[in-house]
Amino acid sequence: MSIPAALRRRTPRGTPATGRGLRLPVSACVVAAVLLAVVLVPLLVPLDEQAVDMTNKLHAPSLAHPFGTDDVGRDVLLRCVYGLRVSLLVGVVAALTATVIGTAVGAAAGAVGGRTDRMVMRAVDVFSSVPHLLLGIFIVAMFRPGVWPVVISVGLTHWLSTARIVRAELLSLRSRDFVDAAVSGGASRWRVGVRHLLPGVLPQAGLAAVLMVPHAIWHESALSFLGLGLPTHRASLGNMIQDARGTLLAGDWWPTLFPGLFLIVPTLAIASLAGVWRERINPRRRSELML
């Protein structure tokens, strides 16, 4: 009789038991598929994504062109895949750059405190005051238009809010008893910051990183539009969506819809994976209160 016959599990309210389990594998599959497509398709399909074909203008999706063709007769599927390559690169790398810089600066300021902190935060103020666009323009202008300058310019202009959030959270964490315990245990400032404080703000920083990915992708297309990013005829998801606006109003949906999906589905998959990760690093994950 040691183990009761029926132990009731108290499922957390509102959490459907189904669906949760699917989230991780589905997202992982999407991300894997995206990565595969991005790496392989340009190798396997040696087509010119820029070649226009005026006679094939705006064909609805068909077998020959599964995603249809755009207003100058380019294959939308092919361009989506090429565009995804560029956009993912821009989105992910820029988001990572911004998050890493933001977290590092915020953590340094918050963990050290005092005058250093104040100086750093005023510098952050300076940075956030110069219009993003202008800063971006400047950075891109220092290089030739292309993917990397865009990545750098988006990354370098978007770390500010992460830095502020990280710092503010650290300030609040800094006075906890467990930090005292670590200090008394001989931990250096650096160790306190990295081992005890930083993990506490990782969920926030991770959230910022994920949100930055789609943001960076459209930022790229905005820069393109000013003539400072990728040339607008080169396939990037932002460019394609930007380009296809007029076509949509004229009633042809496919040149917009597919790049849109290509942008959103991987974003959601990444977000979902990041969500799983955030839950995992939350110490309460397994036994989160069921209420």
Binding site: M54, V72, S224, L226, G227, T232, H233, T247, L249
Partner: protein
């Protein structure tokens, strides 16, 4: 849109609201506003009618020109007043022209008045222009709006209030200008040409084509300029009419003479034949335009018939083969180790030029010429045009000289943005000069025909299309027309170019 207190569009026929893409930077003629002759607030000495013929406006008739073609005399209309009630006199005309020509005035188009040596008033109602050299097209320049000396001279020309609170003699008076939103005009009750029937004229500034189209659809606007593919969606709409304004607005590719590839006559001629202009018109312009074979539109009276070139890839290949451009392994032709490849720039953000550039590159590829398309801003492109090709857009309807001279005359090579191909051709230079000096239409016509023929033999530019400007407007007014429009079309272009003369349907 929602019902409202103010007399919104959709209701009466005495108010008109139109949507345009660009907002004027200034409303002062002294800084270039309305220099094409249609400014609503102002009048020029002359103006254009629907056929783009000159007709008198503030002048009583067309100018008297001296024998040597260097003195133009205008008699001014009497009894005209500015909207502030002050009389219009020759002093205003002199003030306007002299201020524009003043070095301190930041007017970027002052070189259009380059020919003017002096301007002076003879009495209250006569103005005499003296030119540095005989210039046949000068009268076309005097459509320029006349500012009020009394008001404008009290302010700073470059930044003063006259830029935003203009006072003119025109059919309309500006009532408000909320920058970024709209300009509102009301009819000038004392207009010398009679009070306009359309009492209120509003120009909404809507940069984005799609938003403009949507706002037109929502009834917010009575009319708007639209890209052809969006205008198409109104075709079946009974209450709306679509106008395709004929223009002199062409798109062309510069083929710089200094580039060993584009400077080669065989390449130039081959490209000229290899491009499929009809396909471009059909797909890029949705039919709203026509093939271009030179700066002058094919329906211009000055156009040299017979200089049209068909799309003929075979012929193009033959020219290249004959000239020694042999296909290489990568499909690109070569001659003496030189690859038939060059870069073509377009202004980023300009979808129309982008599509032209891509189509051009595709067509060139079929002939074995590798054209790399690149995008950039003006600042990026300007230093490159001596060596790289660029997608050009330009065109003035008024006089052939306005287009042909700056584009083709070798003296203009690399001058500002003029003659970007660094084109030089002896015949062309001679004929352009000759046409400029003569005031005899026949002589000029012959000279310009020779110019166009020479250009066809040595096409330093590949002219692609002349585009139409497409307007959609409520079908509430009678007798709407469009003028032949220039490349640059301000708020005065479109079917409402003569809104002051409109009559309601009933």
């Amino acid at each position: 849109s929602a019902p409202d207190d103010g007399g919104g569009p959709g209701g009466g026929t005495d108010a008109l609201t139109v949507g345009v893409a660009q907002e004027p930077e200034t409303l002062s003629p002294l800084l270039g506003y309305g220099k094409e002759g249609n400014s609503k607030i102002f009048d020029g000495l002359l103006t254009h009618d629907a056929q783009m013929h000159l007709k008198p406006a503030l002048a009583t008739h067309l100018p008297k020109v001296s024998k040597d073609g260097r003195t133009y005399t205008y008699d001014l209309r009497k009894g005209v007043t500015f909207s502030d009630g002050k009389p219009f006199t020759a002093k205003d005309v002199v003030y306007t022209y002299e201020t524009i020509l003043d070095k301190k005035t930041n007017n970027a188009s002052k070189s259009e008045l380059d020919a003017v040596d002096s301007v002076h008033a003879e009495g209250e109602h006569t103005v005499v222009f003296r030119l540095k050299y005989p210039y046949a097209a000068f009268a076309e320049r005097t459509v320029l709006p006349i500012a009020s000396k009394a008001v404008a001279s009290k302010t700073n020309v470059n930044t003063g209030s006259y830029n935003t609170e203009p006072v003119g003699t025109g059919p309309y008076v500006l009532t408000s200008w909320r920058k970024g939103e709209k300009l509102s005009f009301k009819a000038n009750p004392h207009y010398w040409g009679g009070k306009p029937k359309i009492k209120r004229f509003t120009v909404a500034v809507i940069e984005d084509d799609d938003v403009r189209a949507t706002r037109l659809r929502s009834g917010d606007l009575d009319g708007a300029i639209l890209p052809p593919n969006l205008a198409k969606t109104y075709e079946k709409d009974e209450d709306k009419r679509t106008f395709s304004a004929k223009t002199a607005d062409y798109r062309a590719v510069t083929l710089p003479s200094d580039n060993p590839v584009t400077g080669d006559k065989a390449i130039r001629r081959a490209l000229d034949l290899a491009v499929d202009r009809k396909a471009m018109v059909k797909s890029i312009l949705n039919g709203a335009g026509k093939p271009a074979y030179g700066p002058l539109p094919t329906d211009s009276p000055w156009f040299a018939k017979g200089t049209e070139r068909p799309h003929d890839l075979k012929a193009a290949e033959k020219i290249l083969n004959d000239a020694g451009w042999k296909p290489g392994k990568d499909g690109v032709r070569r001659k003496d180790g030189e690859r038939a490849a060059f870069t073509l720039w377009y202004f980023s953000g300009d979808k129309l030029r982008q599509d032209h550039a891509l189509a051009y590159a595709s067509d060139a590829k079929k002939a074995g010429i590798d054209v790399q398309v690149q995008a950039g801003s003006r600042e990026v492109i300007r230093p490159k045009v001596k060596h790289d090709a660029m997608l050009l857009g330009n065109g003035f309807p008024a006089d052939p000289d306005f287009d042909l001279y700056p584009t083709l005359h070798s003296s203009q090579a690399g001058n500002g943005w003029n003659n970007l191909a660094y084109y030089h051709d002896k015949t062309v230079d001679e004929q352009l000069d000759a046409a400029r000096r003569s005031r005899d239409p026949e002589t000029r016509k012959t000279a310009y025909t020779k110019v166009q023929r020479a250009l066809a033999k040595n096409p330093g530019y590949t002219f692609l299309t002349t585009i139409d400007h497409v307007y959609v407007i409520d079908d509430k007014w009678r007798g709407l027309t469009t003028q032949v429009e220039p490349h640059d079309h301000g708020i005065g272009a479109g079917p409402w170019w003569n809104v002051q003369d409109w009559q309601p349907e009933k």
